[in-house]
Amino acid sequence: MMLLNASGCLDALVAPDVARQLDAFVTKTITPLPREGNAPPRIAETAHGMLNAIGLANPGRDVFLRQTLPRLAETLDIPIWVSVGGFSARDYAETCAGLDGSDAAVIELNLSCPNVDEAADGAAEIVAACREATAIPLYAKLSAAHPDVGAVALAVAEAGADGLSLINTLRGTALDPRTLQPVLARTTGGLSGPALKPIALAVVHSCYAATGLPIVGMGGVTTGQDALELIACGARDVALGTVLFSDPDAPARVRAELAEAAERAAVASPDDVFARAHDVEKLPHTRRKVTA
């Protein structure tokens, strides 16, 4: 089991000591062209969560490849996962081609940012185009908002994804209680934090059942127990997001709590509860393998 950060929740160049507590670092999403991001205010605290509407602020693919990625590789001695975004399958594939042979250990395809207007091509189409463009392992980050995310997971698996990152934030709105106007300049933002945990558990559970692919589980992880539950639903690895904002020591703390939670569950290692929340006999992906 590896502990990662959720994309967009940590800047390893500004806070390398936080990143070094992780087993792998995931970059903020990179798009073909530089993006300044959305106008402020961009964040709002809500009950059991927060909204963000950052809008994929990033220096763009060229500056990232020339400057940011080499600096990250110099700063960190853990694998670097590069989150890739775009507005068409071609955008994604061109960035993946640019990353081929770079310091990127894994490419996470952000197919689910709720904070940009542009509609992307279908998830499977994007994954297929990227698969042709690079030999680097591809993880598809999917949205829990899809009514049948298991079917999307199966489609991206068949298109060549090596793993899944689940879940991204979900779109929400917060109003100022006095003016009844949206707090965020963009009106909507992505909901993250503890409010997401039951959704993350459900999505990881259904996508593992559908595909059997390696999954990085994330969404509302605050404690080691939360991480253990994601593993039991089928996550091989776990990422921390919003908790990093309030607790930069969260990776070390969650790791220690995870060991305690495993002990409470009467197992030697967190990996020992992997997929325990499934009835193995009923897993479609294992059935498929048996019949094949």
Binding site: G8, C9, L10, D11, V14, A15, V18, K28, E36, G37, A39, P40, P41, R42, I43, A44, E45, T46, H48, G49, M50, N52, I54, A57, D176, P177, R178, V183, A185, G193, P194, T242, L244, F245, S246, D247, P248, D249
Partner: protein, 233 residues
């Protein structure tokens, strides 16, 4: 060096409409004047950013304006309670100025007492919306105090190196009067250490993170600020 520790409240006193929250310093460095700390707000998901007001021996003191659920929770803390504190963060005021004048508006008085100490005393001018709020001026002995409808900008005399903190309209007005002023800004902030990108404001003509570039910014570098009072209304 910033670090995060759980610190006990050693005192919480009303100062007019504000609360001076005093915490045991522990291993935390008070940092430079104008730097800030993220204080755990009991019952809330996100901590709140507060600049250091005073650094008595063994303590860190913060002036809190109860403007939302987080700051209200901080004002309810009592002696013996404990919260996580992370800092110091950001960049403070440059102290290499010839003729300093500290200018504060409302809760913007917060970083000025510690700043005055670091400068070995400096003239100060603070403005408030009411006499009750103006009670906070006791934290800055000798300061000239104005109360609305009089504005601090009406009382600034030329020839000073202004170091200011206050609401956005005041900072804009100070910047117009004193283009070389150092201004401490506020923005909604989830993390305080560059992770969330929530506090982006226009600096040098582009959106940059206030927690990384500031919160103290030369007046010439910034033109836009869309601050809210708290991260949750």
């Amino acid at each position: 060096m910033s670090r995060r520790e759980r610190r006990s409240v050693v005192g919480a006193e009303a100062v007019g409409r504000y609360t001076l929250l005093r915490l045991a310093r522990g291993g935390l460095d008070p940092g430079a004047p104008g730097q800030f700390f993220m204080l755990e707000a009991p019952g809330r998901l996100l901590p709140r950013a507060l600049s250091l007001c005073l650094a008595p021996p063994g303590e860190l003191a913060f002036l809190v304006d109860p403007v939302g659920p987080g700051t209200e929770a901080l004002c309810r803390l009592g002696t013996g309670d404990a919260i996580h504190v992370f800092g110091p963060l950001g960049n403070g005021y440059r102290l290499d100025v010839q003729r300093p004048l500290l200018v504060g508006g409302g809760i913007g008085i917060a970083p000025l007492p510690y700043l005055a100490q670091a400068l070995g005393g400096a003239p100060a001018l603070v403005g408030f919306r009411s006499d009750e709020h103006a009670a906070a001026a006791q934290l800055l002995p000798g300061a000239e105090v104005v109360v609305e409808p009089t504005l601090v900008t009406e009382a600034i005399r030329p020839g000073y190196d202004v170091l200011a903190c206050g609401p956005e309209p005041m900072l804009r007005a100070v910047a117009a009067l004193c283009p070389s002023a150092q201004l401490a800004w506020e923005a909604p902030m989830a993390c305080g250490y560059g992770a969330c990108y929530g506090c982006a404001v226009e600096i040098d003509g582009e959106l940059k993170r206030l927690c990384v570039e500031g919160p103290v910014i030369d007046a010439s570098r910034t033109t836009l600020q869309l601050a809210t009072k708290e991260i949750a209304a």
